[in-house]
């Protein structure tokens, strides 16, 4: 009975994330949250809404605009046995703290010969579609997934957001948790239909390295993540009207990458379209295509990449809409390789 009621409750992605963080904070006093505008504001994209009211300033901390300092503090706290969740307000700001992220958070376990673990979650807002220009609209999935030492997760909906957050906090290794602003369910940035889902009230985990087949099809494999899962599903719906059945795969985790699910689908369909909001060159789309080419070459008839062109993301609304892949671009790509 209780479970039936729980299934009827829907949450936005931001509220699902907060629910997971709050549950872990109740369970383990070593879990705490810090970041810019986290405590009093609740995170500018709602990722910590209400936590300060529930847990107080000692465990939910605002920090100065000094990413190197507070991300470094997170690494230190994690090495000392705590479980910090540190928010990098926009992923675009990672540059000033690159040494702390790439050389310390990602590598201290290795550099210390395993003497330290770094059980830290770096959560960060990604993505565009709301005219915030080139320094506040990037996704940078490839930048973080490229470097060994960190696990990288990208939820596309509230159910996954909660399960992945529980897993991220409990993981003894550093995890980069990249949430798309457009999926959070905020009043001032409305989400598409899809990311708000039923969410069980009890804690649960979604294991890293497990992609999800969101829609089955035999004619083409569409591999994507984050916001573009929803655009790919819209595209698949339209293609189905023409008798083309696209299989849509939500990666959910970039590191570790679920190559088995990708390969199984590609062996079935023979046609691969990879859709990414990150830049086209040297990134996720090329990586997925390479995985398919290395291990399923004989089954592969055609591949297509649909990604952000290699340009700084425009501020102008029509220009940003032009460069950010939409459902029509995905439909065209799938049709092109039939």
């Amino acid at each position: 009975m209780a479970q039936a009621v729980a299934e009827e409750r829907d949450l936005t992605m931001s509220r699902a994330m907060v629910e997971a963080i709050a549950a872990e904070m109740h369970e383990d006093e070593e879990v705490f949250v810090m970041g810019e505008d986290i405590a009093d504001y609740g995170g500018i994209f709602g990722s910590a809404q209400g936590l300060r009211e529930e847990f107080g300033y000692d465990r939910v901390m605002d920090v100065p605009i000094a990413e190197t300092s507070f991300i470094g503090a997170g690494v230190g706290a994690a090495q000392a046995g705590m479980r910090p969740i540190v928010e990098l307000m926009f992923v675009d700001f990672f540059g000033v703290a690159m040494d702390q992220i790439y050389n310390n958070m990602a590598k201290n376990t290795y550099m210390s010969g395993g003497s330290f673990s770094v059980p830290m979650v770096l959560m960060t807002a990604v993505g565009g579609t709301y005219n915030d220009a080139a320094q506040h609209s990037q996704t940078l999935y490839g930048t973080f997934a490229h470097l060994p030492g960190m696990k990288v997760v990208v939820p596309s909906n509230a159910y996954d957001a909660k399960g992945l957050m529980h897993n991220a906090i409990r993981d003894d290794d550093p995890v980069v948790y990249m949430f798309h602003k457009r999926l959070m369910g905020l009043g001032w940035m409305p989400s598409p239909d899809g990311p708000k889902t039923g969410v069980p009230e009890e804690p649960y985990t979604i294991p890293f390295g497990e992609a999800e087949v969101k829609r089955e099809g035999d004619d083409a494999t569409v591999v994507t993540l984050g916001l573009h899962v929803h655009r790919a599903l819209d595209a698949a719906e339209e293609l189905a009207g023409d008798g083309i059945e696209a299989e849509v795969i939500d990666l959910r985790t970039l590191t570790p990458l679920d190559t088995d699910t990708i390969l199984e689908s590609v062996r079935k369909t023979g046609r691969l379209v990879v859709v990414d909001e990150d830049y086209r060159s040297f990134g996720l789309t090329g990586e997925i295509v390479a995985v398919a080419a290395e291990d399923a070459l004989a089954d592969l008839e055609a591949v297509k990449r649909v990604a952000m062109p290699d340009v700084p993301i425009p501020y102008s609304r029509p220009l940003e809409q032009e460069v950010n892949p939409d459902a029509d671009n995905i439909v065209t790509a799938v049709r092109d390789i039939q």
Binding site: V5, E8, D10, L11, T12, G187
Partner: protein, 85 residues
């Protein structure tokens, strides 16, 4: 039976410090037919950029959602009806 139903009233949760008399429904977290507890967040509304969580005014069944997501309303409009248990 409708006389027994309890209205989820927008005026009851109106933010104090805004002049606006109109708002918009941002998110519903409960679906029709759900058994709700008094105080549980049913939905989120926005009035002049202020987001407000709307709690259930009574324990019972959410029998009717009157204003759906993206619907606009004026202060005092009914969001939904609860049949108390």
């Amino acid at each position: 039976m409708s006389g027994d139903r309890v209205a989820v009233d927008t005026a009851a949760v109106w933010p104090d410090d805004v002049d606006a008399e109109e708002g918009v429904v941002v998110n519903w977290f409960a679906r029709e037919g759900r058994s709700v507890d008094e105080g549980e967040t049913l939905c989120e509304i926005q009035v002049e950029k202020v987001s407000v969580d709307v709690p259930a005014p009574a324990t019972g069944e959410l029998v009717e959602i009157v204003l759906g997501e993206d619907d606009e309303f004026v202060k005092g409009d009914t969001l939904a009806w609860i049949l108390p248990s």
